[in-house]
């Protein structure tokens, strides 16, 4: 086989790779060890600790973030796969001191108890409301079917999403 041109690969800095991505609306250049997941890079290299380590195997939803507007599990995504992507974490929901309507509703209705699942649920619900400003209860249940909550029994979470949707209209 004739020699083949090598495709572009991420540049390295020592044992680290350097990637450019957009995090919560701001361009970020980050150096990290290439085996890290997006979750590990967000928390350890970008100091965004709102996103939580849960099961780390895709079975709980605590680590959910939005990548290009879609809810994904950051524990299952290698950060190397995110070059050029736009990532939204729970830190990106508020506008300055003004909370996202979802955050207000979760506080009003006690939809966060221990709070560990809350960041993943908030960003997932944000993606739902961006796509469906007036979701039905089954649409909310389906959208949040990848987020486990062991405290609330989910009812207050569904009600908070509905309240946030009503207030945004």
């Amino acid at each position: 086989m004739p020699p083949q041109p090598q495709p572009p690969q991420p540049p390295t800095a020592g044992s680290k790779v350097v990637l450019t991505l957009t995090v919560n609306g701001e361009a970020a250049e980050v150096a990290f060890e290439p085996h890290k997941t997006l979750l590990e890079v967000l928390r350890e290299d970008l100091a965004l600790t709102g996103t939580k380590h849960g099961c780390e195997l895709g079975e709980c939803g605590a680590c959910a973030v939005l990548v290009d507007g879609k809810p994904v599990l950051s524990c299952l995504m290698l950060a190397l796969e995110c070059g050029g992507a736009s990532v939204t974490t729970v830190e990106g929901l508020a506008r300055g001191a003004q909370l996202d309507p979802l955050q207000d509703a979760f506080a009003d209705l006690g939809a966060a108890q221990c709070g560990y699942c809350t960041p993943g649920i908030l960003v997932t619900a944000r993606a739902l409301l961006d796509q469906h400003p007036a979701p039905t209860r089954p649409q909310i249940e389906e959208a949040l079917a990848g987020n486990l909550c062991r405290c609330t029994g989910y009812l207050s979470i569904y009600q908070a999403v509905e309240q946030a949707a009503r207030k945004a209209r």
Partner: protein, 348 residues
């Protein structure tokens, strides 16, 4: 739980991925969506020397008509697939299967090719390294890492057995086999197309006939007049199937002219049930009952997934009956509690 170090290659084309795979040798691993591969790497079931990312390979993301079939690239995401308008009523089984894999977050990333190549699963294999070490590992991954062929170790499901009984738990394979799909594998040497059923082997360790230097590029999916997919799992989300029933029929009036029924999660491969007994007659209660009896005999679940073994075998009959009654046009609301549960699980 950290992944170990590996070399990385972001493939830019199908040909580039095939070259990298051929050059990478036995410890090169393809990364589609990664939702199953990444946990397996964290648990040291796989310890790749080279990861080949397929994310940038545009050819794998295509979905387009191809003759009378639909050609679906292996890189198409399951969530996008389930919601794609180009999947018509003739592809109902696939739309339903893709739409009930894992959870919405995982479907946003997981690919069709990954689901079709899904590693076989077992209660003794899908555990942490520490758990598996504590039981002295199993045949599928002696010393921790999954092997392609037996090299000692015990199958803890059937300790006297010379083979591995890990279970095929892909949702999309039974649905696509029922629709009569074929699959194309690409390597640096060329490509070959085979019926999707022939991609699978009844072996928990060597569950695919794919060669190590081949990658699954696309499937061609004919339409079927009526098809469905029923999935059994403990929860309405997250869980792998402990039973999948995919069925497709063609009718002339009310007489069955063609039928395919495939069982998932009851063996190390998708089980194709012979359908001769259904042909040339209407889908009457007696024909369905006799066929369900045959299908249940072919289901050989072992005690290595969720739910009780005996119940999993018995429920096969109920699911086959329900799926075929749905295809003959019975109101799902009248199909009993199992059907109602199915209807609730399937996105509209």
């Amino acid at each position: 739980m950290r992944a170990p170090s590996f070399r990385w290659h972001a493939a830019t084309s199908l040909a580039d991925a095939a070259r990298a795979l051929a050059a990478g040798g036995p410890r090169a691993l393809l990364l589609g969506g990664g939702t199953d591969v990444v946990p397996a790497i964290k648990r040291r079931q796989y310890v790749p020397e080279l990861l080949i990312s397929l994310r940038q390979v545009a050819e794998l993301g295509r979905l387009e008509p191809h003759g009378a079939s639909l050609r679906i690239g292996a890189g198409v995401r399951l969530g996008a697939l389930a919601a794609d308008d180009r999947l018509g009523v003739g592809h109902t089984a696939l739309r339903r299967a893709a739409g009930v894999v894992a959870s919405p977050h995982i479907r946003n990333v997981a690919t069709l090719g990954g689901n079709l190549c899904l590693d076989t699963r077992c209660n003794y294999y899908n555990q942490s390294l520490e758990w598996r070490r504590a039981v002295d590992y199993c045949m599928k991954a002696p010393a921790g890492v999954a092997l392609a062929a037996p090299a000692g170790g015990t199958c803890w499901v059937a300790p006297g057995s010379p083979r591995c009984w890990a279970v095929s738990q892909t949702d999309c394979a039974p649905a696509l086999i029922a629709l009569g799909a074929s699959v194309t594998l690409v390597s640096a040497e060329g490509q070959r197309t085979l019926p999707l059923a022939d991609l699978y082997r009844d072996d928990g360790m060597t569950w695919l006939t794919r060669r190590p230097d081949e990658l699954l590029a696309w499937v061609d999916v004919p339409a079927a007049a009526r098809s469905t997919y029923w999935k059994l799992r403990r929860r309405g989300s997250f869980d792998f199937p402990v039973l999948g029933v995919a069925a497709a029929v063609e009718l002339a009036g009310d007489v069955v002219t063609a039928a395919r029924v495939v069982l998932g999660a009851v063996a190390s491969h998708p089980v194709v049930v012979p359908t001769e007994s259904l042909l040339g007659r209407p889908l009457g209660d007696d024909a369905i009952a006799a066929f369900a009896e045959l299908a249940t005999r072919l289901a050989k679940p072992l005690d290595n997934t969720d739910y009780q073994l005996g119940w999993r075998k018995r429920v096969t009959r109920a699911y086959v009956v329900g799926a075929l009654r749905e295809l003959r046009g019975d109101d799902p609301a009248l199909l009993g509690v199992l059907a109602r549960r199915q209807a609730a699980l399937i996105p509209a």
